[in-house]
């Protein structure tokens, strides 16, 4: 800092001295969080964040004490996805901060607004390899939208305000604030001015009207229009506009994993999940459409599969995203629109008159009949039966959080909800162990709703220590474990794509989940037959606290359809006929 800036700051501090006498950095932080509307934070105290915890009881903030910092980040993520607000997690320096990284990556990859607050060793010790020092700024660079290391407590209010603004504005993401312990304890008589920037962070302005008119023209002239939609539509609250556009164009709609729920699954135009493990009829429609509109999605490799065979008959591809960097990154759309999904969709609706496309619809319905979702009927418990029974017990406001792997695809494809924000999962990072802590976070945001965590036994054991958090903090999530005693998706890959060599995928020892649940103070049950599914779920929901139900499913149950690695979307393989 220059001398003149120091003098200026001292002058400001003197003038503000009467307003905030001798406030510590920790109190400024907590005060700033309250001003941002934060009511809940997830974290663990440790050596370098103790000043924050010293003052925490003085502020109207609920603290959920987690058992591992990764859990704190996933809970903040689940809280944010379920509430639309910014999720906040807190960790100490060193291992505490580094344990957040997986969770921050998970949130950031899926454009979820999360703010992480980490304690740091005293400012003078930074760079000396002090006890529990870690370079959390360097370590988190690639998994955050922005980060701060605060070296003067007077900066804290401005930093917190900007961090929350950045986390939630434009394409949302994760932001980290690292505060050395002595800065948390620093007493200041005033605060610095808000951060001023040459280029303030803003959401994109009004989209290019020429491009929007062009998109409308393409859609109008389409014989076989198709829409793919992702989480960006949910972030923009654009689901009504999406439905209106689909109906106006008579265009079927496929959704990404993260887009599950943004288009009503009961709607006749709904084709469900697109991509690698998407429905056969959705992938056929993408392959045959003549105009494809993609909105609020990135079009990553799990959506496109073999890129040069993606939408090969499309004369025009329209791609709408709030982040310009996602346009032209994989799919080369000839009409690229930077903008808010809701705004663009509404604009397109206003420019288009209704047109039916009976021939195209008949063709799509033919594919729906030709490629139905099937699962084996071999007398063993099938995951689809379990999920149908779960969803039948959920109301429209209730929330399902899926983990990663076969369970995630089964849960997404079977999802029957009609609104976004009620089916959550880790789409971009595919973080196993996400479901339970994210469900706890969602439950903290909505204490009155039923919240279901759906995992395999592999992902469940990665973060199951958070059952203690759920019990202790009275967050009664119901954990459904689809237990095939394997890393199931890896096993399917080994069977289908890696020479049939089953290598290190069997969980020879799977814990007794009923005893485990009871050890944590949860309700526990095990289900081996279809007839036991309903009663076990009813008992779990009747229990006032968290519950774990272990469903011993068909160990060979696979996900179908699936596109073989390296193949195009229309090369999907279906479940062998019964």
């Amino acid at each position: 800092m220059t001398i003149s800036a120091t003098v200026e700051r001292q002058a400001r501090q003197l003038s503000a001295a009467s307003l905030i006498p001798e406030t510590t950095g920790a109190e400024l932080l907590l005060d700033a969080l309250v001003k941002e509307g934060v009511d809940t934070v997830f974290g663990i105290p440790g050596g370098a964040n103790l000043p924050i915890y010293q003052h925490l009881p003085d502020f109207p903030i609920r603290h959920v004490l987690v058992r591992h910092e990764q859990g704190a980040a996933h809970m903040a993520d689940g809280y944010a996805r379920a509430s639309g607000k910014v999720g906040v997690c807190v960790a100490t320096s060193g291992p505490g901060a580094l344990n957040l990284i997986t969770g921050l990556a998970t949130a950031h990859f899926d454009s979820v607004p999360v703010v992480a607050i980490t304690g740091q060793v005293a400012a003078a010790s930074i760079g000396t390899d002090a006890f529990q020092e870690s370079d959390v700024i360097g370590s988190s660079l690639s998994v955050t939208k922005h980060s701060y290391q605060v070296l003067d407590a007077a900066d804290i209010p401005g930093v917190v305000a900007e961090a929350f603004h950045i986390a939630r504005t434009g394409r949302p993401g994760a932001v980290l604030i690292d505060i050395p312990k002595d800065v948390q304890q620093q007493r200041v008589d005033g605060v610095a001015d808000p951060i001023r920037r040459q280029r303030p962070h803003r959401a994109p302005g009004r989209p290019d009207s020429f491009r929007m008119a062009q998109a409308a023209e393409f859609l109008l002239g389409a014989e076989r229009p198709m829409i793919l939609a992702g989480r960006g539509v949910a972030i923009a609250s654009g689901q009504a506009a999406l439905q209106a556009l689909a109906e106006r164009c008579d265009a079927p709609v496929g959704t990404t994993l993260l887009g599950t729920g943004i288009f009503p699954s009961s709607h006749p135009l709904a084709l469900g999940l697109v991509g690698f493990m998407g429905t056969g009829y959705c992938n056929r429609a993408v392959t045959d459409c003549d105009v494809l509109l993609m909105v609020g999605m990135r079009a990553d490799d799990r959506v496109t599969c073999r890129l040069d065979e993606f939408a090969p008959r499309a004369r025009h591809i329209i791609h709408i995203n709030i982040d310009p960097a996602e346009l032209g990154k994989t799919v080369q759309a000839d009409c690229q629109i930077v903008g808010d999904a809701k705004f663009v969709l509404e604009e397109l609706v206003s420019q288009l008159s209704p047109r039916t496309r009976p021939q195209w619809r008949t063709q799509v319905e033919g594919w729906r009949a030709q490629h139905p979702l099937r699962h084996p009927d071999n007398g063993l418990l099938q995951p689809q039966e379990v999920l149908a029974a779960c969803y039948a017990r959920l109301g429209p406001d209730d929330i399902t959080v899926a983990d990663v792997g076969l369970n995630q695809i089964w849960a997404a494809v079977a999802w029957t909800g009609d609104r976004p924000g009620h089916f959550l999962n880790s789409g971009g990072q595919g973080t196993m162990g996400f479901a339970l802590p994210a469900a706890i976070g969602a439950q903290a945001a909505h204490p009155d709703r039923r919240v279901l965590s759906v995992s395999g036994e592999g992902g469940f054991v990665m973060t199951l220590q958070e059952l203690a958090t759920a019990v202790e903090s009275r967050l009664p999530v119901k954990a459904v474990v689809l237990n095939n005693r394997q890393l199931g998706m890896v096993r399917q890959f080994q069977d289908d794509f890696y020479g049939g060599v089953r290598s290190q995928v069997d969980h020879v020892l799977t814990p007794d989940f009923v005893m485990l649940a009871r050890a944590f103070g949860c309700f526990g049950a095990v289900v081996r037959r279809a007839s036991e599914v309903g009663p076990a779920l009813d008992a779990a929901f009747a229990h006032p606290g968290p519950a774990v139900v272990d469903f011993e499913i068909d160990p060979n149950a696979n996900v179908y359809p699936i596109v073989p690695l390296g193949k195009g979307l229309s090369d999907f393989v279906e479940c062998p006929s019964r």
Partner: protein, 200 residues
């Protein structure tokens, strides 16, 4: 001590040194302006590295605007889509503006400090390629520190020649680059909204 010797750059007829340097398509010249905040260079280089862009040269220093640092980068985009350089850098909060000036009318200028045997200075200066100027900075007995500067290509040529003289040592800056006219066929961004124009 004798006054410093100066070898004025010899210029080809009709040129003023302000020409667009031809680069292979995968080489991009990027001009970035960033807020002068701690760690900002790390953010820029980390982003480029993790997205598969190689930094060939990087020159950093204050800009005409207080609080703003100018970075001139020469980037090897390899097989990556080079549009991503500007688009991804623009997403960094501390970045004020990013411009791909590869196809712009641009001045590129490199400077090298060269340590020569004093009795070789005249010959070295005489052999400088077209467009490169040389200047004696200081003499210390048998050694003379000279500065040579000019467009990056000819400066690299001059250094290659000096490499053959085992007696010399040098340090060379990455090229500084300044666009002298608006970019053609490239795009720039000074705000997160690129207006939705198609980017090829």
């Amino acid at each position: 001590m004798s006054p410093p010797a100066i070898a004025a750059p010899r210029l080809a007829p009709g040129t003023d040194g302000l020409t667009t340097t031809r680069h292979p398509a995968r080489i991009r010249l990027i001009s970035v302006r960033v807020e002068d905040r701690r760690g900002v260079l790390q953010r820029v280089t980390n982003l480029l590295g993790r997205r598969g862009f190689g930094i060939e040269t990087c020159a950093v220093g204050p800009s005409a605007e207080p609080g703003v640092v100018a970075i001139s980068l020469r980037i090897d985009a390899g097989t990556q889509s080079h549009d991503q350089i500007v688009k991804q850098l623009t997403k960094l909060i501390d970045v004020v503006s990013v411009e791909d000036i590869t196809n712009s009318a641009t001045v590129e200028w490199s400077t090298a400090l060269v340590d020569l045997r004093s009795d070789e200075v005249d010959q070295a200066f005489a052999q400088l390629p077209e467009g490169v100027g040389g200047q004696v900075v200081t003499r210390a007995g048998l050694r003379t520190i000279t500065a040579i500067s000019g467009p990056p290509g000819p400066v690299e040529e001059a250094l290659a020649e000096l490499r053959r003289r085992r007696s010399s040592d040098w340090i060379c800056s990455g090229p500084l680059a300044l666009a002298t006219a608006p970019a053609r066929g490239s795009h720039s961004s000074s705000s997160p909204d690129t207006g939705g124009r198609p980017v090829r």
